[in-house]
């Protein structure tokens, strides 16, 4: 007994949790206290290595941790209580699962003997979060806790990254047991993600690439998740092959938007040149993307004439939506490195001059065209102005979900990875503001801007209070059109212009709201005042709500109408009522 009391590895479960965070290099966590996590909060109080950011709602903690993770490449950590604390985490966990973001959530649970009793603030947390985590654990014995915590970090950050949850009953937090630092045997023997690509497949891929006449590289968030080496190699591959490159929403920044081979984003609201290149290519190299339905358009008409190479660390991404010819399972960086090595040794740059000429013709259609106005601010113009004003600055962008998100993706150029935080897979309105909180915590001296919509931003507005408390000078740049713009756009296009509940009759006065929170409120209504107001916003070293009043009825183009293929895009100049009606005729028949 007396020996054990001097063993520094003997500690309570609550102390183990804080110790494990430190051992995994965690410096900041996001959370909200409650009955079932009080022992952990007591430990947090008595140390200074891990900074805890108190959010205003657990969903905010989850998205903040996501923003932190996406902007640093490190896992984000959230701490929540049992019951409602845990259920409020379901959205961020699902969001992180869809976008492959490493997230470690620690939740409190009612004491072991009360589990199953409908105790106060009890819920079946592992049951509820099983489908929205990569893996989760309920720890019933304090002596399992260290192993589980270490495994949780390992699972979250390796292979295809994702969210994990560790549910810790309160009696386990109080109980004393033996802690051990992370070690290899902590991990399930059944978990061994494949990193290295198959050499035969890599040779097949190189031979396809070397023989391509109309190639395209289509990259995704996997490249960014893989780390800086993958980005570097992707850029090198583009340089060595001279191929055009497009990217998904999640992959923006892996290849610089100013790069000469950049086609812009692809997919539903991607550029005409990106989608046409995808449609007409003969060889497609998909790196760390998953042929999502927003990307492919009509599946049976997706890039019909191409041989497809697919690099992905998750075997279940292969042939899920689109049949590919050369799947390569493994880590992007590893495989890109191998491809480059073989390509440089055995192939030479294919002559694709005529392909580039074709692409130049598509580019000339200027698919992101919009008509500026002197009277009213166009949302696209607002984002372009914001982009110009932040050029050369150390800037991070988050977004909410909707039209503003697509305009941000179209008009804000990203030069580096980890600079663009958006909810891609789940499409979570309310993601951007708390994500900005997380990004700013990770990068206290950088310029962090949430490009927001007036509807989305109200879903997690309470986190302004967090920003004010921790003096996080986030800028919430609201493109305020008083509508749920994307909902309205679809209602206009597909539901006979019946704008059912997509108009916000009673918006708050965002300037007063900012002031009420102790932040700064700015409003701009005239195009002439826009640049000045943006400069002022950037100069303010406090949180800002920027109410940018924009043209209310502007819609987001170009777009692939539902049920159409990449080569059937609706371009802005065609988006008059008649053409729109025709493009959506199939849909209208059933309206």
């Amino acid at each position: 007994m007396s020996d054990k009391s001097h063993d520094p590895n003997q500690m309570t479960g609550a102390a183990m949790i804080v110790r494990a965070l430190i051992d995994h290099g965690v410096t900041d966590i996001f959370g909200y206290p409650g009955g079932a996590v009080l022992p952990i909060y007591d430990e947090i109080f008595q140390q200074s290595e891990v900074q805890h950011i108190l959010v205003r709602h657990e969903q905010g903690a989850g998205h903040a941790a996501e923003g932190y993770a996406r902007s640093t490449g490190k896992p984000g950590v959230a701490l929540v209580t049992s019951g409602p604390g845990a259920t409020n985490m379901v959205t961020p966990l699902t969001d992180a699962l869809m976008d492959s973001i490493p997230l470690v959530c620690i939740s409190g649970q009612v004491p072991t003997h009360l589990i199953g009793n409908d105790a106060f603030q009890e819920c079946d947390t592992v049951g509820i979060t099983r489908p929205c985590t990569k893996h989760n654990w309920l720890v019933r014995d304090v002596n399992d806790l260290a192993k589980v915590l270490h495994e949780a970090f390992y699972v979250a950050t390796t292979g295809r990254p994702g969210p994990v949850l560790v549910d810790v009953p309160k009696d386990v937090q109080f109980a004393t047991g033996t802690y051990h630092p992370p070690r290899k045997s902590d991990v399930h023997r059944s978990y061994a993600p494949r990193v290295k690509g198959d050499a035969t497949q890599i040779r097949k891929a190189v031979s396809l690439l070397a023989g391509a006449k109309r190639p395209v590289i289509y990259s995704g968030g996997g490249v960014i998740n893989s780390g800086p080496e993958a980005t570097k190699l992707l850029r090198e591959l583009v340089e060595v092959t001279g191929f055009p490159i497009t990217s998904t929403l999640m992959g923006l920044g892996a290849y610089p938007a100013s790069g000469k081979n950049w086609l812009g984003m692809l997919g539903m609201h991607g550029t005409y040149e990106a989608n046409m290149t995808m449609h007409d290519c003969d060889v497609m190299l998909c790196v760390g993307a998953r042929f999502d339905d927003r990307i492919t358009g009509r599946v049976d008409a997706f890039s019909p004439g191409s041989k497809k190479i697919h690099i992905d660390i998750d075997p279940s991404s292969i042939n899920k939506n689109i049949r590919v010819d050369v799947p390569i399972i493994g880590d992007c960086a590893n495989i890109l490195g191998d491809i480059l090595q073989v390509f440089k040794a055995e192939a030479k740059k294919p002559d694709i001059k005529s392909w580039w000429q074709q692409i130049a013709q598509w580019r000339a259609r200027n698919s992101l065209y919009y008509k500026k106005s002197n009277d009213v601010i166009l949302p696209q113009h607002a984002i372009q102005s914001l982009f110009q004003a932040t050029r050369g600055k150390d800037t991070y962008i988050t977004t909410e979900v909707g039209q503003h998100q697509m305009w941000a993706a179209q008009f804000f150029g990203f030069e580096e990875p980890h600079r663009w935080m958006t909810s891609g897979g789940l499409g979570t309105m309310g993601y951007g503001l708390p994500a900005a909180v997380g990004v700013q915590v990770a990068h206290p001296n950088s310029l962090v801007i949430d490009i927001a919509g007036d509807a989305s931003v109200q879903m997690t507005m309470q986190e302004m209070s967090t920003a004010v408390q921790y003096e996080l000078p986030i800028k919430i740049f609201i493109l305020n059109n008083q509508y749920m713009g994307m909902v309205r756009q679809w209602q206009q296009l597909l539901h006979g212009n019946r704008l059912s509940h997509s108009y916000s009759e009673a918006l708050p006065d965002f300037v007063k709201l900012a002031e009420a929170y102790g932040a700064v409120g700015l409003q701009v209504t005239k195009p002439a005042d826009l640049d000045g107001a943006i400069t002022e916003m950037i100069a303010v070293k406090r949180p800002v709500l920027f109410d940018c009043r924009v043209a209310a009825l502007e819609n987001c183009f170009p777009m692939i109408p539902s049920g159409k293929a990449h080569n059937e895009m609706l371009l802005p100049e065609q988006a008059n009522d008649e053409a729109t009606a025709k493009a959506f005729a199939g849909g209208k028949a059933l309206v």
């Binding site: 099983r130 059944s190 009509r298 599946v299 998750d314 279940s316 899920k320 597909l494 539902s562």
Partner: protein, 180 residues
């Protein structure tokens, strides 16, 4: 077909469905079966039959045998989705190996008298079903075999006074000296 008014690209797939038997080796830990079943319900896959039991107690290994149907693309998805679960060691498509033996056990209760009773007993004998319980007016038969054989036996018992059936679901193992 006209597209319905939807933001999704709804497409019918016309590939024919196939039935596959999958053997899944998992770490026997709390919730592992819920994970597997949740995967099937969450992603809309079919389960025709499911059996699970610990097979190696020392190593905490359980073996789950699942009979499922789907297009070849869906079957491939199911295997990959199972394989990427953390506590799953291995997924083997027993149907694809073409070298597997599948068996199911059923207990079949039949109630009747006179000719029906004699006929039931005679058929049971022909199917190599054993009598494991008997009263003057009933039998419980135990029958082992593949799914088709058991279905056939149950069909024959129906007019002879079938009361109820309890089936284990399919267990499968590969032929030859090698393990999975």
């Amino acid at each position: 077909m006209n597209q319905p008014a939807s933001a999704y690209f709804i497409e019918e797939r016309h590939d024919p469905n196939e039935t596959h038997t999958l053997a899944v080796l998992v770490q026997n830990e709390p919730g592992v079966l819920a994970r597997v079943i949740g995967l099937f319900s969450g992603r809309g896959y079919n389960i025709e039959s499911l059996t699970v039991s610990e097979t190696e107690a020392q190593k905490h290994l359980s073996r789950i045998t699942i009979v499922t149907t789907g297009t070849p693309m869906v079957i491939a998805q199911i295997k990959h989705q199972l394989d990427r679960m953390i506590p799953v060691y291995q997924v083997v498509d027993m149907t694809q190996t073409k070298r597997s033996i599948e068996r199911e056990l059923a207990m079949v209760k039949v109630r009747g008298q006179g000719e029906h009773r004699v006929e039931a007993l005679r058929l049971a004998d022909a199917f190599r079903a054993r009598v494991i319980d008997a009263t003057t007016e009933s039998f419980v038969f135990e029958i082992t075999g593949n799914t088709d054989k058991i279905n056939q036996f149950i069909d024959l018992m129906r007019p002879l006074g079938l009361v109820e059936v309890s089936r284990t679901g399919v267990a499968a193992i590969g032929r030859g000296p090698e393990g999975m």
